[in-house]
């Protein structure tokens, strides 16, 4: 055979029969094949039939992007409809983690490019993404309020930025700049903790939310309802269809406040004026304060100023960490003297002599004082081997209540304090009780937060705070006579907020009724073309509650306050005596240990107070002014308060002399 040399050697070319060995092995392979197909079918059944719905939902999540259409946030108006906060359109750039490049180097390259365009550090973007954790379908907002040329660049280079999405959004705008900043608050992205709490109330993981002031308090009215649109995208995040509108956004409702822009501005100017006056007078540490103006008839807040302050607009759009630091970071806040703090409600100060009407009213109610009795007003007052000084040593005469209030005689009130101290145990602690009834040391319930309660010290509080063995069972032992005597003139550990004091003076002004202070008047639908504004919900103020003070006692105190501003020896007659509208009010100079930057130990500085109301016959406004470290009340706080009255009554008057305490 020609081909024989190619043939294999004969030994393997024997006829082949299916040997039992091969049969077994073929059978094994056949068995293996059946097992393999069984596994494949089982797995296929498990995936497609048993959990098909789950994977179908997953596949749909893959391709459907629900875009948020931001609802315009409601405007905030003053009582006359003047716009305090509204919106401007802005563009939002966001990242969809699911559509970013799938490899880390490519992702980093893209984020770096985005950093160059927007200026937002890559680290911040990554941190944001990490914050939203496992959910790749929640977009991460990189920035709101892009520059026009940034928008153009991103639009043009869309292909280089998979997973980057531009969307229309709204930015808060503040026509009056920093006016009423602490009352208004600001808007920021919801924090993960807030989101966890509010998730069930319709908040999304990247929503904006009011972070302070009325923006936070009335967020549910202001925020509106975001709309949504659905977009089908391919695996590179490229849109494959036009966005399909699912729901139109419903803009938020407008919020009308009780504030008056004119009066608010006057109050803020007055505050700065008061601080300057104090500094000019030698109280060089004067650096902050607050002025509150209330309507004593219903508790509506007409003005609420706090200094130092800030521009809420720094939270809108391209934020600057350096500008935000004083509001978000404790150290920076301390350096700038806490501009975000609403001193009207969130800081307690010793009230000093402005507290004397409390002592007077409580003493009369408890029958410890006849207002027409004469009590000696002397340079010092000695009780229990302790000497208490009057603010002026140049006096030595007997006084009735009116004169004592007018001249702010300390020894008169020391005596009242002593009378409270010597009360038998079964009478309890009526001075503190009355102070609390007047709303001091209690939260006012104003629709702003956070609010501090302040402090009216009593033995139970001392016991709780300082504890110690004598406390258990012998509560009253740790309450020394000096505490009652100091409290009577608003010194010692007593702390009140300017708003609490304003509320108390409103009670004096309106004849004994404690009002509920509030800043929101109503929620309304803003007027659009063809439709007038419509009130949706009015926040009916709690009707003023009667405290139970005798009318005669009140009249005595009212007269005392009138004397204080009009009698020749009144502590603020020099400020208010010549004012065409009759004003009644009380100065206060409260000593407080203040920690000053650069000083190792706290310094004893005088807090300057003035609280009062007008017109005397039918009061329509209460003003309470406080200048931190401002010295005597008549020097800084009283002139500042006058500025507010001037704006309110559209009247001016020269300040004749500076009185004291």
């Amino acid at each position: 055979m020609a081909s024989s040399r190619f043939m294999p050697s004969s030994n393997v070319n024997e006829p082949y029969l299916l040997t039992p060995q091969l049969a077994v092995r073929v059978a094994i392979i056949a068995f293996l094949a059946l097992a393999v197909f069984a596994v494949l079918f089982l797995r296929l059944w498990a995936l497609q039939v048993l959990s098909g719905d789950r994977y179908l939902a997953q596949a749909n999540d893959n391709r459907v992007r629900t875009l948020r259409i931001d609802a315009a946030r409601g405007a905030i108006l003053d009582r006359n409809g003047d716009v305090l906060v509204s919106n401007v359109a802005g563009t939002r750039v966001e990242l969809w983690p699911a559509d970013l490049p799938k490899t880390w180097p490519a992702e980093l390259r893209e984020l770096r490019a985005l950093q160059q365009v927007t200026g937002v550090p890559v680290r911040q973007m990554l941190a944001r993404m990490k914050q939203h954790g496992s959910d790749p379908l929640t977009p991460v907002v990189v920035q709101v309020g892009l520059h026009q040329d940034t928008i153009f660049y991103l639009e043009e280079h869309k292909a280089d930025f998979p997973g980057v999405q531009l969307a229309e959004s709204w930015l808060r705008t503040y026509p009056h700049q920093s006016l009423a900043a602490q009352v208004l608050g600001y808007v920021g992205e919801i924090s993960p903790q807030e989101y966890k709490q509010l998730q069930t109330r319709g908040y999304g993981a990247t929503d904006s939310i009011g972070q302070a002031g009325v923006e936070s308090e009335y967020d549910s009215y202001l925020r509106g309802v975001d709309g949504s649109a659905q977009l089908t995208v391919d695996s590179l995040g490229r849109p494959k269809s036009a966005a399909k509108l699912e729901a139109l956004p419903k803009p938020g409702d407008a919020l009308r406040l009780t504030l008056d822009v004119g009066l608010q501005r006057a109050a803020e100017r007055a505050l700065r004026f008061g601080i300057q006056t104090a500094r000019a007078n030698g109280d060089t540490h004067a650096n902050g304060g607050s002025i509150v103006a209330l309507d004593p008839r219903d508790g509506s807040v007409l003005a609420m100023a706090s200094y130092p302050t800030y521009q809420p607009s720094i939270f809108a759009g391209r934020t600057d960490p350096a500008k935000l630091a004083p509001l978000l970071n404790e150290t920076a806040a301390e350096r700038d003297n806490h501009p975000g703090l609403n001193r009207a409600i969130d800081v307690g100060y010793p009230p000093g002599s402005t507290f004397k009407p409390v002592t007077a009213l409580a003493a009369m109610q408890e029958h410890l004082l006849n207002p027409y009795d004469s009590i000696p007003c002397t340079p010092t007052f000695t009780a229990y081997k302790q000497v208490f000084h009057n603010w002026t040593p140049l006096i030595d005469t007997g006084m009735d209540l009116q004169t004592a209030l007018a001249e702010s005689c300390d020894t008169y009130f020391y005596e009242l304090g002593r009378r409270f101290y010597v009360l038998p145990k079964y009478r309890g602690h009526p001075l503190q009780l009355w102070a609390r009834k007047f709303g001091l040391g209690e939260s006012t319930g104003i629709d702003l937060s956070p609010e501090t309660k302040g402090l009216i010290p009593d033995p139970a509080w001392r016991c709780k705070t300082y504890g110690g063995p004598p406390c258990a069972g012998y509560v009253d032992r740790i309450w020394k006579p000096g505490y009652s005597i100091q409290l009577a003139i608003g010194q010692g550990q007593v702390l009140v907020t300017p708003l609490q004091m304003a509320r108390f003076y409103a009670m004096i002004a309106n004849g004994g009724k404690l009002v509920s202070p509030h800043v929101a008047e109503d929620v309304e639908l803003t007027a659009t073309s063809g439709q007038p504004a419509r009130v949706l919900r009015r926040f009916a103020a709690q009707p003023p509650a009667t405290v139970g003070v005798d009318a005669s006692a009140l009249t005595d105190v009212q007269q005392g306050l009138y004397e204080a501003t009009h009698a020749s020896t009144g502590t603020s007659s020099g400020v208010f005596g010549a004012f065409p509208v009759s004003i009644a009010g009380k100065t206060g100079s409260a000593e407080k240990l203040v920690r000053l930057p650069g000083y190792p130990n706290p310094v004893n500085l005088t807090q300057s107070w003035w609280c009062g109301y007008g017109p005397y016959d039918s009061p329509t406004i209460v003003v309470c002014a406080l200048i931190e470290n401002g010295g005597h009340g008549g020097v800084a706080a009283a002139p500042a308060a006058l500025k507010v009255f001037e704006q309110y009554f559209h009247q001016t008057a020269p300040i004749t002399t500076h009185a004291s305490d």
Binding site: P8, N13, A30, V39, L40, Y55, L56, N62, R63, T232
Partner: protein
């Protein structure tokens, strides 16, 4: 022995007369022919749906052209006596290894690996695909030539020695999937040729130990035989959620696609995983998942049953082969086919490592289709030349 030798001559005589005639064609396995026809037709229909929305359009025309070329190769293979491969095994072996070296030297790079040789007219050619069948033909020859010494440990070692060269050449391309297919074919060939169980056991132990060494022990001690991404792909299926946007992205998308298909499938338009390209490589490596998404459990079942039919007929052919060489070749081809079907479909469902193995007769790719036709052609050629009695 003598009688058998006479028989052998008689058989050879019969064979020689049949080769010239049409009579040989009558001995075709018509069930296998039907299964092949149905699989090819079904595969073309499936791939048309899978690639319909790709940017480059449907691959149906290309694929049909390849199938036609495959049919031609199949027909030619029918008329080549398997003994010819056995006789020419050395040139085949050297030629295949040479072409693989050529690929490494000057092949075109795609997806980071050198597997293809560019041909004029925009075609590419993947030698390692064709090599699968040639590999079985050569190694089977090496073993069958030493059938008497099969109990000797040297025989399987020699076969393994022959086998390791192409396996390594494919591995360094790098193409781990194809290297695994070669290894599976080598194992099958050793198994069918009758290597002793004890030897097989030792080899299996070495294979398992080697895998552990490469995937676990060496990386743990700082030596990486595989590139980290390769290791991640191989082991990723055991923990698919570990890196949803990285190594296991493909796997998650693939499982999602399969699951979303449900009982009846989402249809071509509704199959968003495929259409919007969430499922990567859906025309090639992940064609199974894409088919599962578009045609559902029913659609995939048809394909799997057709595969099962092919494997069953292939095993019947092993049992009826006229000599040891043919049996070993048929066994190798049958097992290799089974292995490819399993690894490809199982990987898309998350129960096997992810490797770049095409799904027979479905995945887009000329080399793969033509090779599968060649494999079945060789099977048919063996069947046609089976023993005298008709089965």
């Amino acid at each position: 022995m003598a009688i058998e030798a006479v028989d052998s001559r008689r058989l050879r005589g019969a064979r020689e007369t049949d080769v010239s005639g049409i009579g040989l064609l009558r001995r075709l396995d018509w069930v296998l022919m039907l299964a092949l026809g149905c699989t090819v037709g079904y595969g073309l229909w499936a791939i048309n749906g899978i690639t319909l929305h790709d940017p480059s359009g449907s691959s149906l025309t290309h694929q049909a052209l390849y199938a036609f070329a495959g049919a031609v190769v199949f027909t030619i293979a029918l008329f080549i006596d398997p003994d010819v491969y056995r006789r020419w095994k050395r040139p085949i072996y050297v030629g295949t290894a040479g072409v693989m070296l050529l690929v490494l030297a000057g092949g075109s790079v795609s997806h980071g690996s050198k597997r293809w040789i560019s041909l004029p007219g925009g075609f590419t050619f993947q030698p390692s695909e064709f090599g699968k069948v040639l590999f079985v033909l050569v190694i089977a020859g090496v073993l069958a030539d030493r059938a008497r010494g099969v109990n000797d440990a040297l025989t399987p070692l020699r076969a393994i020695g022959y086998g390791l060269v192409p396996i390594l050449l494919v591995f360094v391309q790098p193409d781990i999937g194809t290297a695994l297919v070669y290894t599976a074919a080598l194992a099958a060939v050793l198994f069918v040729s009758g290597v002793r169980w004890a030897h097989l056991g030792v080899l299996a132990a070495i294979a398992v130990g080697g895998a552990l060494l490469v995937l676990w022990l060496l990386p743990a001690s700082g030596i990486n035989v595989l590139k980290p991404y390769q290791a991640a792909r191989l082991t990723g299926f055991t923990h698919p959620s570990s890196d949803p946007r990285g190594a296991t992205y493909n796997l998650r998308q693939s499982i999602t696609a399969v699951g979303a298909g449900g009982l009846r499938g989402r249809g071509v338009l509704g199959a968003t995983q495929t259409r919007l390209n969430y499922l990567p490589e859906h025309a090639t490596d992940f064609a199974f998942a894409s088919l599962a998404e578009e045609r559902g459990f029913f659609g995939v079942s048809i394909l799997l049953l057709l595969y099962l039919l092919i494997v069953w007929r292939a095993l019947k052919i092993v049992a009826g082969a006229r000599d040891l060489y043919c049996a070993v070749v048929a066994g190798g081809i049958a097992f290799m086919f089974l292995f490819q079907v399993f690894v490809n479909s199982a990987m898309t469902m998350g129960i096997a490592p992810i490797t770049g193995i095409p799904l027979p007769f479905v995945s887009v790719g000329g080399s793969s289709i033509i090779t599968n036709f060649l494999a079945l052609g060789v099977l048919q050629a063996i069947h046609m030349r089976r023993g005298g009695r008709r089965r």
